[in-house]
C-alpha cells in the first residue's frame, strides 16, 4: 500500500488534530484566522473546537478536521540500515581481523551541551535498551570526554588518541544549536586532518534528522532511540570495509 491517508475512525477519512497559538486577541476573527491557517495546511473542513484566550494578545486553538493530502510511502526517504547488525562477539572478531588492533572511539557532548545521558547510553558499559555500550566491546577503546567539550579539545583528543571514529552528541536544539555545533565540529576536522586520514564523524541526538549527514559534513547521523549495537555495527562496517578497499 503506497498511498495512505490519516485515519480517524474510517478508512480514508483523513482526520488529524492540530493545536497552536496565534499572537492575537481572542475574537471571531481570531477563530476565523485559526481556521484559515488550518485550511492553508490542507484541512477542510477544519473545525476550531477550542479557543482559549491567553493574556491579552494570544489565543490558543485546537482544530480537528480532514486533511486533503495523500501520503505516498514510496516517496519516503529514510536512512535505512545499510550494514549488517553484529553481536559484540562478531564485531570484536571483525575488528581483530581487519584492523589488527583495537578500534579507537572518542566521544563527547560538544559546545555548551551537558546532556551526557545519550552519549553515555552508547558508550558506557551499562548501555541502553538492554544492549551493552561500546566500552563492553573488548576490541574497542572508548575515550568518553563527557560534557561541554569544546571543538578544539575534541580535535586534540582525536589526534592524541589516534581516533578511528569520533562520536558527538547534541541534545539542545533551541535556535538550531545542534546544527551549528555539528557544522563547526566537522569543519574543524576537515581543517585539521587530510581527507583520507580523517576519523569517521558520527553525530547523534533525539532531534536530528538522519538524512542530513551530507549537509552537516559528517558520515552518519543517529536519532531518537539509537542502540549501541547499531552504532558498533555501523562503525565496524565502515572502518573494516574502508580498510579492505
Amino acid at each position: 500500500m503506497s498511498i495512505v491517508r490519516p485515519y480517524g475512525d474510517t478508512t480514508g477519512d483523513g482526520m488529524v488534530q492540530l493545536s497552536f497559538t496565534l499572537p492575537i486577541k481572542h475574537s471571531k476573527v481570531a477563530e476565523g484566522a485559526a481556521a484559515q491557517l488550518a485550511n492553508k495546511m490542507g484541512m477542510d473542513p477544519a473545525l476550531v473546537v477550542h479557543a482559549k484566550p491567553m493574556g491579552d494578545g494570544f489565543t490558543f486553538f485546537v482544530v480537528y478536521g480532514r486533511v486533503n493530502h495523500l501520503v505516498d510511502t514510496d516517496q519516503v526517504e529514510v536512512v535505512e540500515r545499510d550494514y549488517p547488525l553484529l553481536t559484540p562477539k562478531e564485531a570484536n572478531a571483525a575488528i581483530k581481523r581487519s584492523l589488527r588492533r583495537r578500534m579507537v572511539v572518542v566521544g563527547g557532548c560538544i559546545g555548551t551541551d551537558a546532556h551526557t545521558v545519550g552519549i553515555d547510553a552508547i558508550l558506557n558499559i551499562k548501555g541502553f535498551a538492554g544492549e551493552k555500550g561500546l566500552e563492553y566491546y573488548r576490541e574497542v577503546k572508548v575515550v568518553n570526554l563527557g560534557a561541554q567539550v569544546s571543538v578544539p579539545q575534541l580535535v586534540d583528543a582525536a589526534i592524541t588518541e589516534k581516533a578511528d571514529a569520533v562520536l558527538v552528541s547534541q541534545v539542545v536544539t533551541q535556535r538550531d544549536a545542534h546544527l551549528l555545533n555539528t557544522r563547526e565540529m566537522s569543519a574543524a576536522f576537515r581543517e585539521s586532518y587530510p581527507a583520507a586520514k580523517r576519523p569517521l564523524l558520527v553525530v547523534g541526538g533525539p532531534r536530528f534528522d538522519e538524512t542530513m549527514a551530507d549537509e552537516l559534513g559528517v558520515d552518519r547521523v543517529f536519532s531518537r532511540g539509537t542502540t549501541p549495537g547499531e552504532v558498533a555495527s555501523y562503525l565496524v562496517h565502515r572502518l573494516t570495509t574502508r580498510k579492505a578497499s
Partner: protein
C-alpha cells in the same frame, strides 16, 4: 469494605421505600403486554428475517394477528393455532402468508387452545434452551480461555456506524486491553418500532443493533478472546421501543452485558411509561435467564441536570433499578448500576465530591459491579484538559472499587472516538491503575469529614425524594408525570409506543413469560 459511616437504618429505609414505590409498577407491568413483548416471543420461537422493504416478519405477523384478534390475548395462541390448522408449515411462511392477506387468525378455544399453547410453549422453549446453551457456552469459554484479569473491567466503545469498520476497531481495542466492547447504536434506533435486519453499514454515530451484527461481532470477539487468552465481553442496548426483542436477540447471540434502564426510555426518549415498564420487566427476565449483566442509565440524568444538585436522583434511580431488576430475577452480580463523574470541574472540591458519590454507590450496593461513567458534559474541545479529567475519573474508579469502567475519551466534545483516542485512553487507565490502583489502602475519609457528610446528605435527599414519590396519588407514575425526574413531564397516557400497549385479557398467554417466571435457570 465500608469506607463510609452510613446509618444502617437509613439504608434499610431507602430500600423499603424503593420497594413500596416499585411494587405497584410491577403489578401494572404484569397486567399488560406490548407489541414488542409479543414479537420477542415470536423471535424466541425462531422467527427472524424481514420482507423486501426490511420490515421484520415478527412485525408483519404480529400486526396481522393484532388486526384479527387483538393483542390482549397474546399472539402465541392464535399463531400456533394457525400453524396447527395447517395454514403454513412454519412461522416464516405463516408470516409471509399473513402479510399477503391469505391467513386469518382466530382465538382458539378448548382443545385447540390447549394444543396451540403446548405447541407455542414447545417452540418458544427451544429459543430459551438456546439462550441457556449460550450461557453455558459463555461459562465454558471463560473457563477455557480465561476471564478479564482484574477489576474494573475496561469498557470501550466503538461507534463507526459500519459493522465492518467496527469489527477491526473492536478487535484492536480488545488487544490493547478492553475487557468489554460496546457497539454504540445509530441515533434514532430507540424510536424504531422494529429491529432492523442483517449486517449494516449506514448508522449515524453508531451502528444498528441487529441480530446479524450481534453475531458478527460476537464471532470476531470470540476469535480475539482466544487469541488473547481472556474472554472479551460484548455489550449493546436493550432499550427503546424494541427492548424485549433486543434482549431476546442478545440472549440468542451470547451478548454479555446490555444497557437496560427502568426509566431511561420514558425520560429521555419520551416513550410511554407503561410501555417501558412492561418491556423492561420482560427484557430483564430474559437477561436474568441469559446470565447477562445489565447496565443501568443513571449517568444520563447528569448530562442534563447538575451533578451536585441531582446526585440524589442517581441514588434514587439506582434503588429503583435494583428493585425492578431483582423482581425480574436478576442477581446482584448482574446489576451494573450506573453512575458518572459529571460534576463541573470548576466546582471547588469537585474531586472529593465525586469520591463521596462513588463511595455511596459502592456501599449501598456492595455486591453489584457498578458501572462508572466518564466525564462527558464538561469535556470541551481542549483535549489536553480532557485527558487529565479522564485520568482523575480513572483515579476515582480505582479508589472506589468500580466493577466496570467506561473509558473516557479526550475527544468527547469533538467526535465519536478515533482509534488513537481509544489507544490514548487505555494508556491513561493503565497508568492510573498500575501506579495508583492500590491507593485505596491509604484512603480513609474521616467519619465526620467532608466526604462522609456529603454521602450522608445525598442518601438523605434520596430518601426524601422516594418519600415524595410515594406520597403521590399514583406513586411513581404520577411522579414521572409531574416532572419529578429531570424536570421532564411524562404522563402515563402519553408518549411514544403507547399504541403498542394492551391490557391483558383473562386468557392472555405467553409461553416465554411462563417459562421465564416458572422455571428459573
Amino acid at each position: 469494605m465500608g469506607k463510609l459511616t452510613l446509618d444502617a437504618a437509613d439504608v434499610r429505609r431507602a430500600r423499603t421505600l424503593a420497594r413500596q414505590v416499585g411494587r405497584p409498577i410491577v403489578k401494572t407491568a404484569q397486567r399488560h403486554t406490548t407489541v414488542s413483548v409479543e414479537r420477542a416471543t415470536l423471535r424466541l420461537a425462531g422467527l427472524s428475517g424481514a420482507d423486501a422493504e426490511g420490515t421484520p416478519w415478527v412485525n408483519r405477523l404480529s400486526d396481522v394477528v393484532r388486526a384479527d384478534v387483538g393483542l390482549e390475548h397474546g399472539v402465541s395462541a392464535p399463531v400456533w393455532d394457525a400453524l396447527l390448522r395447517g395454514e403454513a408449515e412454519d412461522l416464516v411462511t405463516l408470516a409471509q402468508k399473513a402479510s399477503a392477506g391469505s391467513v386469518t387468525f382466530r382465538l382458539p378455544e378448548g382443545r385447540d387452545l390447549t394444543r396451540a399453547r403446548t405447541a407455542a410453549r414447545k417452540a418458544v422453549g427451544k429459543g430459551i434452551t438456546q439462550i441457556d446453551r449460550r450461557r453455558v457456552e459463555r461459562e465454558r469459554m471463560i473457563a477455557k480461555v480465561g476471564d478479564a484479569p482484574r477489576k474494573p473491567w475496561i469498557y470501550l466503545i466503538v461507534a463507526t456506524g459500519d459493522i465492518y469498520e467496527d469489527i477491526p476497531q473492536a478487535q484492536a481495542a480488545a488487544r490493547e486491553g478492553a475487557d468489554v466492547i460496546a457497539v454504540i447504536r445509530s441515533t434514532g434506533q430507540s424510536l424504531l418500532d422494529f429491529v432492523p435486519e442483517g449486517a449494516t453499514r449506514e448508522g449515524f454515530a453508531g451502528t444498528y443493533a441487529t441480530q446479524e451484527n450481534f453475531r458478527l461481532m460476537r464471532a470476531a470477539l470470540d476469535e480475539t478472546s482466544r487469541e488473547l487468552g481472556r474472554y472479551v465481553r460484548l455489550t449493546n442496548y436493550a432499550s427503546g421501543l424494541c427492548m424485549p426483542e433486543i434482549a431476546a436477540l442478545a440472549g440468542l447471540e451470547r451478548l454479555d452485558m446490555m444497557l437496560n434502564d427502568s426509566m431511561y426510555g420514558i425520560l429521555f426518549r419520551d416513550i410511554n411509561p407503561i410501555r417501558t415498564f412492561v418491556d423492561q420487566r420482560f427484557s430483564r427476565q430474559v437477561h436474568a435467564r441469559a446470565g447477562i449483566i445489565i447496565n443501568t442509565g443513571e449517568d444520563n440524568y447528569l448530562t442534563t441536570a447538575d451533578a451536585v444538585e441531582a446526585a440524589h436522583t442517581v441514588t434514587t434511580s439506582q434503588l429503583l433499578n435494583e428493585y425492578f431488576a431483582k423482581e425480574a430475577g436478576l442477581e446482584d452480580w448482574q446489576l451494573g448500576l450506573g453512575h458518572a463523574f459529571e460534576i463541573d470541574p470548576a466546582v471547588p472540591d469537585s474531586f472529593r465530591l465525586e469520591l463521596a458519590h462513588a463511595l455511596l454507590a459502592r456501599q449501598l450496593f456492595p455486591k453489584a459491579p457498578l458501572k462508572w461513567m466518564p466525564p462527558t458534559r464538561h469535556m470541551t474541545g481542549d483535549v489536553f484538559r480532557g485527558y487529565l479529567l479522564d485520568g482523575f475519573f480513572n483515579l476515582v474508579g480505582a479508589l472506589t472499587d468500580q466493577g466496570i469502567l467506561l473509558v473516557g475519551m479526550m475527544t468527547e466534545a469533538v467526535v465519536t472516538p478515533w482509534i488513537s483516542d481509544r489507544d490514548l485512553a487505555l494508556q491513561n487507565v493503565r497508568y492510573v491503575m498500575d501506579s495508583a490502583g492500590k491507593l485505596h489502602e491509604d484512603f480513609h475519609p474521616a467519619p465526620g469529614g467532608f466526604i462522609n457528610l456529603r454521602a450522608r446528605e445525598v442518601l438523605g435527599e434520596s430518601i426524601g425524594l422516594l418519600e415524595d414519590i410515594k406520597a403521590h396519588d399514583n406513586g411513581l407514575l404520577d411522579a414521572i408525570a409531574d416532572g419529578t425526574f429531570g424536570l421532564m413531564k411524562r404522563p402515563a397516557d402519553k408518549g411514544r409506543g403507547l399504541e403498542g400497549v394492551a391490557r391483558k385479557a383473562a386468557d392472555y398467554y405467553n409461553p416465554a413469560t411462563e417459562i421465564l417466571e416458572g422455571d428459573p435457570a
